[in-house]
């Protein structure tokens, strides 16, 4: 259908003389093109570029969001953020979500991707579907469902643990200061696992079939083929996956806000919930937009610094895919 139209169009243009490529028509088309770009410039400029700039601007003010920012305080907000133990605690928790995603989720997803990539494995599409299912569920909703399952007073998990005698008294998974963060990290790995799995499967698809066959003919076993054929092909893509997984996990907000709101006693507080609390918490009498913006800017800079550590790899990958 589609190629049909294209072919017919090609026919038509072949019969008629090609029109002039430049001239007043081209100028008018350029004007139209700019008109077509206006919505993007407005929407992207207003909701992506402007906020990036404005965050910096706001962070120099002591401002509660009423009226325009007028109370210039210089670097005071930044000094306060950098000196706040609570901010650094939140930052390390955010970072913990990244570490869990990079060192637990990514390797496990790779192992399962290698397994599910085998065409001889029956039901592999069904397995993939099941593992992917948590990804499409709204984080806030399914997170609360799991919070109920983990409830110390009658929650299913504790009931099973008690019945089987694995524990003597209920574990307060999300209510204990030492267990809450590991529990949320586990839920986050469960929730994001499917995306990373799809990334790896896409990466494995790029390994040329004839290369694998050649390795098999040469008598390379599973491990040798993995080491000398699969991994070298997959490595450059792995760096992109690393970056995607890193960015996603570092910005974890929905799960924490919905399930623990950063508690108990800030044991699961992450930077986004920290910022949210200072800017939007309904129980707050006066929001601190300036301070919260400064926290956001510092967080952005720290993320940028960590991302830049991966830049040399990215650059190599970019130049390679460009050529």
């Amino acid at each position: 259908m589609k190629t049909d139209t294209v072919e017919r169009a090609l026919d038509v243009s072949a019969q008629s003389a090609p029109g002039p490529r430049r001239g007043p028509g081209a100028l008018r088309r350029n004007l139209w093109s700019y008109l077509f770009l206006v919505p993007t410039v407005l929407l992207f400029g207003g909701f992506t570029l402007w906020p990036m700039v404005a965050s910096w601007w706001y962070s120099f003010f002591n401002w509660d969001g009423v009226g325009n920012p007028t109370d210039w305080v210089g670097l005071a907000n930044f000094r306060e953020v950098l000196g706040a133990d609570a901010f650094w605690r939140a930052f390390w928790h955010s970072f913990a979500f990244s570490l869990a995603a990079i060192f637990i989720e990514m390797p496990l997803a790779l192992v399962l991707a290698i397994l599910l990539n085998n065409s001889w494995l029956r039901f592999r599409n069904l397995y993939r579907l099941v593992l992917f299912l948590p990804v499409v569920a709204t984080t806030a909703v399914i997170g609360i469902v799991i919070a109920i399952l983990l409830d110390p007073a009658g929650g299913l998990v504790n009931r099973v643990l008690l019945d089987t005698g694995l524990v003597d008294r209920p574990v307060n998974f999300l209510g204990g200061t030492s267990t809450a963060l590991p529990t949320l990290l586990s839920i986050d790995v469960w929730k994001g696992f499917g995306i990373t799995l799809i990334y790896w499967l896409a990466a494995l698809q790029t390994v040329p079939k004839d290369l694998q066959e050649a390795a098999a003919i040469d008598g390379a076993g599973f491990w040798r083929a993995l080491r000398f054929v699969t991994l070298p092909v997959v490595t450059p893509i792995a760096i992109v996956i690393l970056l995607l997984v890193f960015q996603r996990s570092l910005n974890t907000f929905d799960l924490v806000q919905a399930v623990t709101e950063g508690g108990p006693d800030y044991a699961t507080d992450v930077v986004p919930t920290y910022i949210y609390r200072y800017a939007f918490d309904p129980s707050l009498r006066a929001p601190r937009y300036g301070f919260a913006s400064a926290a956001g800017v510092v967080f952005g800079l720290l993320t940028l610094a960590i991302t830049l550590l991966q830049a040399p790899f990215m650059k190599r990958r970019m130049t390679r895919s460009a050529s």
């Binding site: 906020p51 990036m52 399914i142 609360i144 919070a147 109920i148 790029t206 929905d254 806000q257």
Partner: protein, 279 residues
């Protein structure tokens, strides 16, 4: 013979690992559906059976009306459709314009778009909130939809640009010969060709908007009647942590529609996600 058996065993032993893993994996969903049909009394007494003694719709009724999940469903649909429409319209026009290789300023714009993908934004929700307030849109879902759609534009613009660039220039010239202007060529000739891209972009953004939490949360703080399902669930749990069967029913209302959408269109969705890695 034994060799073949060994191979068979070696290949199928994986199911012993995969089946329990997958059952545990989707257990929260299974429990959620089962609990939604149980009476609160049965939930309290416990019992690990998934099948309710007597199935009841009372939980759904309570979630739908008392907890306002009917309203939240309507809000979520409005919000998601608005985001998808905004993204499709804005990204396809931009992609069409940027598909012209000689458009002055094209490189700059594309460069800025791509650069913002890799620069961490820190947290930009505060200026976004201030801006929407300034536009006088803080009391409707349109403001939230704008805030959700704006940052989601980059990938769709690049997808549309790539697709339109791949269409032979002759097609456009033929349309012009037939007397179609710029707008008509875009709307009646090019856009219908772009159905695959439209499908991918629409699906990814619909699921993204349905599952969005931060933006709808911030923009409905002053107006609980505008909450979406995710925010509504958070509010419900915050008010009443003990109504487990009601919460389970609410969770079903929030999760099952999008799971069904996904099951029908999973190939498009999975390929859309995989595309992030391949390109």
């Amino acid at each position: 013979m034994t060799g073949r058996w060994q191979l068979f065993a070696r290949r199928n032993v994986w199911h012993l690992l995969l089946v329990p893993l997958c059952l545990a994996w989707i257990y929260p969903f299974v429990w959620m559906v089962a609990a939604a049909f149980k009476t609160p009394r049965e939930m309290l007494i416990g019992g690990l059976s998934l099948l309710p003694d007597e199935a009841t719709f009372e939980n759904f009724r309570r979630a739908w009306t008392t907890a306002k999940f009917g309203t939240y469903t309507a809000n979520t649909i409005t919000f998601s459709v608005a985001v998808v429409m905004l993204v499709l319209l804005v990204a396809s026009t931009a992609g069409y314009a940027l598909a012209r290789p000689r458009l002055p300023g094209k490189k700059l714009l594309v460069g800025v778009l791509i650069a913002t993908m890799f620069i961490p934004h820190g947290y930009t929700i505060i200026p976004t909130f201030v801006l929407v307030n300034g536009l006088g849109l803080s009391n409707g879902l349109l403001g939230a939809a704008l805030a959700q759609a704006g940052p989601a534009l980059v990938v769709p613009v690049l997808l549309f640009m790539g697709f339109f660039s791949g269409i032979p220039k002759e097609l456009e010239e033929a349309a012009r010969m037939d007397g179609a202007g710029y707008l008509r060529t875009y709307w009646s000739v090019m856009l219908p060709l772009a159905k695959p891209v439209i499908g991918t972009v629409a699906l990814l953004n619909f699921i993204g908007a349905w599952n969005a939490f931060f933006v709808p949360l911030v923009f409905t703080l002053g107006n609980p009647d505008l909450r979406t399902l995710g925010v509504g669930m958070y509010g419900f749990y915050g008010q009443d942590t003990t109504d487990w069967t009601g919460l389970a029913a609410a969770a079903c209302i929030g999760v099952l529609p999008i799971v069904v959408v996904f099951l029908f269109l999973q190939r498009t969705f999975v390929e859309g996600i995989a595309g992030a890695v391949k390109n």
